[in-house]
Each structure stands twice: as structure tokens, then as C-alpha cells.
């Protein structure tokens, strides 16, 4: 089992997680009723643990400013108010629009590129294919600080419009390695060999086969990379901080500004944290089982 088998198999991995063990009788899995109770109690305890921050965000975001004394921090709001939500929304709304117009195209473009690369790498065994693969793979581990300053200069020299276009370009380029990896594993494990064999032609034939045969059967691979890329672009802060400003930056930059500074409005910050998390949470709730597959596939990425 190679290391990126752990990273492999996109939808397959999600399916593997969902697959319940076959025998669950008391004897077959070696556990007794008491050990089950203990296991359940532990699971619930950890659940509570994970949900503490959620409780805090929710209750605080509905509190009036008079209600945020130290003693009442963990209590439910005395009077429920939507003011923090309004305040946060007023600040964040333009950032949300920019983040959407950034994350959607960036996710689509880098998925398309990744799909083409992945197909070539998975099925076209040319000499040096492994070196090319390693060459691409390394790109997803680098700390982006190491390229950030020249990147800024390059974009200025190329006269790329500041703000969303700059970020789309950056995320597409640096999203290529992870999307390539996901699709390479997808094509290597999921797509039947017979279909691919027919694609073993060269030159223009390769492009044609890709468009006619491969693209239509890549849907589930695309779902995974789209979710993965959308989430990482949406949540990115580093590129946003280095390449954009408050007037043209994405939502992480807006939230950092809302929650930073000298006098922090905690209620509005918490509401803002929720507002900015909604799109990824919705994606996660609706497409959660694919998201897990995406996590597996993205196992090599940070």
C-alpha cells in the first residue's frame, strides 16, 4: 500500500468509511454490552467537547452588548437580538460577494486542469512520468511565503487586475497539484481499464478521447475536487493577506478586520464567523459524504 493509497480513491474511500463491518453480533466483534455503553459514553463526551465552540458562537451572536459581562458569558442571552447579525452582515456583505465570485470560478478552472493532467498521468506511461508527478506533487507542500513576494511582483508586471482576478489566478495555479493528484488516483482506480485502453492514442487523438470519453465519466471526480477547492479557496487567508486589500479582498480578510482592532465587538464577531462559515458548512452538510472522499483524496494537502 503506497502512501497515496491513503490519499487515494476519492469516492471509494468515502464508500469504505460508510461500509459497516459485516458482523455486529456481540461475539463476532468481541465486545460486551458494558463495553458498548462505555464506548457510547465516551463518544458523547467527545461530542460535547467538539461542540463547545459552537455553543459559544451561537449564544454570543444573539446577545446585546450589555449582556456580555464575564459572569454571564456562558448563559443564554437575557434578551435575544439580531443586531450583531445585522452589523456583521453590513460589514461582510461585499466581501461575501467577492469570495463567491472568486471561489466558484477558481474551483471550476483548477478542477478542469487537474482532470486533464490526472488523465494523462494515470494512463499515459511515458518515460519520466514519475518525475513529472513528483515535480507537480512538491508544489502542494511548499509554504507559500517562499513564493509570495515574487508572485506579487509578477502579477504587477503582468498587469493583472488587483483583487478577485489576482486571487483566481493564484488559486488556479497553486490548486493544480492537488487536483491533479485527486484525478490521477480517480482515473487509476475507478475508471474501467477497457474504456481507458481505447484512449491510448497519441497527439490530437488524446485530446479528442479526453473530451468525448473521459470527461463524461469524470463527474464524481469533479464533485470531489470542486468541493475541496471551493473550501480551500473560501477559507484561504494567506494569499488574501499578501495579494489584496480590504477594499478588494475576500471574506477571511473582512472577518479578520471585523474581529480585530482595539475594541472588539464579540457578538458581531461571532455572528460574522458564522456568516462566513455558512457557504462551506452548507456544502459540507449537503455533500458531506463526498467531502469525506475529498478529504481522503486530499490527504496529502494542507
Amino acid at each position: 500500500m503506497s502512501a497515496d493509497t491513503a490519499a487515494a480513491a476519492t469516492g471509494q474511500a468515502a464508500a469504505a468509511i460508510r461500509r459497516k463491518p459485516q458482523k455486529r453480533g456481540v461475539i463476532a466483534d468481541g465486545s460486551t454490552r458494558r463495553s458498548r455503553t462505555v464506548r457510547y459514553a465516551l463518544l458523547l463526551l467527545f461530542l460535547l467537547f467538539v461542540l463547545i465552540p459552537v455553543y459559544v458562537v451561537l449564544i454570543t451572536s444573539f446577545k446585546t452588548s450589555a449582556d456580555t459581562t464575564a459572569a454571564s458569558q456562558w448563559n443564554l442571552p437575557k434578551t435575544w437580538t439580531l443586531d450583531p447579525w445585522r452589523k456583521a452582515w453590513d460589514v461582510l456583505q461585499p466581501y461575501m460577494v467577492r469570495s463567491l465570485s472568486l471561489a466558484i470560478p477558481a474551483a471550476i478552472i483548477s478542477s478542469l486542469i487537474g482532470s486533464m493532467n490526472g488523465f494523462v498521468l494515470a494512463r499515459w506511461r511515458f518515460p519520466g512520468a514519475n518525475i513529472v508527478f513528483a515535480f507537480i506533487l512538491f508544489g502542494m507542500f511548499i509554504p507559500y511565503q517562499a513564493i509570495m513576494l515574487p508572485l506579487r511582483t509578477t502579477f504587477t508586471n503582468l498587469d493583472v487586475t488587483r483583487g478577485v482576478p489576482t486571487l483566481i489566478l493564484a488559486h488556479c495555479i497553486y490548486g493544480i497539484p492537488i487536483c491533479t493528484l485527486i484525478f490521477r488516483n480517480y482515473y487509476a482506480t475507478i475508471v474501467p481499464n477497457e474504456i481507458i485502453e481505447s484512449a491510448r492514442v497519441d497527439g490530437a487523438g488524446l485530446v479528442q478521447t479526453y473530451l468525448r470519453i473521459i470527461l463524461p465519466i469524470s463527474i464524481s471526480g469533479f464533485v470531489v475536487t470542486l468541493i475541496w477547492q471551493f473550501t480551500s479557496v473560501w477559507n484561504d487567508f494567506l494569499f488574501a493577506l499578501f495579494l489584496t486589500q480590504q477594499n478588494n479582498g475576500p471574506v477571511t480578510l473582512g472577518l479578520a478586520a471585523l474581529a480585530g482592532g482595539q475594541k472588539v465587538d464579540y457578538a458581531a464577531s461571532m455572528a460574522g464567523a458564522l456568516i462566513t462559515s455558512f457557504p462551506t458548512l452548507i456544502v459540507y452538510i449537503l455533500l458531506g459524504r463526498w467531502f469525506i472522499g475529498g478529504l481522503m483524496a486530499g490527504a496529502l494537502k494542507g
Binding site: A70, N117, A134, I142, I147
Partner: protein, 286 residues
Amino acid sequence: MLLPTVLLLGYFVYGLIAWSFNTSLTDRHTARKGPASYVGFANYGHLFGEDRFLNSLKNLGVLTVAFIVGTLIFGLIWALLLEKGVPGESIFRSIYLFPMAISMIASGVVWGWLLNPSQGEDARGLNRLFEILHLHFLENPWWTAGSRWTTMASIALPAVWQLSGYIMALFLAGFRGIPPELREAARVDGASEFKLYRHVLFPQLSPIALSALIILGHMSLKLFDLIYAITGPNQFRTEVPAVYMWNTLLRSDMAKSAAIAIVLLAVVAVLVIPYIAYTVRQENEE
């Protein structure tokens, strides 16, 4: 078909790294354009003779250990609790995993509030919760005082919260990928549950454990957003090279910030290059 990608990455990854490295060898200590002269590795020499940079490296080391150990422990425990299948498994799985979908800036907002250093009468955040639960001995100043270990462990705590579910998902996929016949055979041979895990199941998971280690390691080395959101960028106590690089850039010291970034890259490369080589070689054998 691969050529555009190779050219793009050739320039934007390798070319720009070379550019940064080149800058780090000069005396470009301002934002001003114009010729700069080469000073060899002098910038690196200064860095490694500087308390602030050494402090950031030590912080990074402690952070990485605390983060990796914490995340592996929680991830493995959750996977072990879930792997045999319990009623409502998908709910537990989803809730353990969801922090992964949140940006580190958003989680930093909440954890900044939770890790409030006030104690006793005026306790806030988690300390207030400990006060309410009469667990006074747990109250502590988090990252604002105390040793390097307590400081960086406090920073690792939110990161552990975010990524344990991910490690759980990895291990869970690993457990489910083990053929059921292996377990059956071990049980037929009379192996105890402990021995079953120790000698049969865990060895099967070692490739996944290695991946997990590499993923967590390189994430930790690059951690920036969370520290920025919780403590602000200008905290000596919690500064790591990624943050120090940003602070240096704010003072427009191009050469020095490039040198810090290159050191960071070198640290990541030491971790990752053997791993990539290993991965590629293993695939060749298959």
C-alpha cells in the same frame, strides 16, 4: 497535454522559489527598487544569530510536537471508538469532522474568546467555564504567560480541535479497508482484542499513519492564520517563522523576509521530499 502545467508550475513554483532565494542573498532591506548587491549568506547568518528568529524556531518545534501528538491521539481514539460501527455513527463522524470545513480565521475568532487569560472572579472564556464547573485548578493564562510549552500548547489546542476529525476519517478509512477475514482468522486463533489490534490491525495502518504524520507536520510548519487570528501577528510569545516573515515584510525588509521564507521552505522540504520519493518509488514497484 501536460506541457502547460509543467511550464506554469516550473515558473510559479520553482522559478519563484529561485527568485526568493536570489533576493535572500542580497542587501535589499527596503522596498525601494533598483540595484542591490549580493551579500552571500549574510542574511542567513544574521538570522541564526538572532534571538527573535531562534525563538520563533523553538516555538515552531514545540507547536509541531504538541499539535501532532494531540491530533493523532484524538483522531485515533475516535476512529477506534467508531470503527466497529455504532448506532448513529454517521452523526458522530460528521460532527467530529465539521471543524475541518471552517476557516482558521473564523475558528480563531471563537478560540480567541475561549482562551481569554482572565482568571478567578473576572474569569472569561474557558476559564469562566472551569469556574462554573468548580474546576479551578484547570484555569490558566493560556498563551499569555508561562513556559514555551504551555504557550504553544494553547495555540495547538484550536488546531487539534480543527484537524482531529480529519485524522479520524483517515484512520477510519484504514480500518474499513482491512479485509474482515484477517480479524476472523486472528479470533479463530484465539487472539485477545488487545493482541488483535496490536499485532494484526495496527501494522496494517502504518502507511496511513505515515501520511497523517506528513500532512500534520507540514500543516503545522505552515500554521499562520490561526496565530494571526488568536494572538495577532505581533506577539513575540507565539511568533513562528511564518508570522515573523510577515512582520519583517511589513517593515519592508525584502531580503530578510525572503531568507526567513527560504528557511521555512527548507524545513518543510526536509520533511516532504523523502516522503514524495518514497511514494513514487513504491508506485514504481507496483
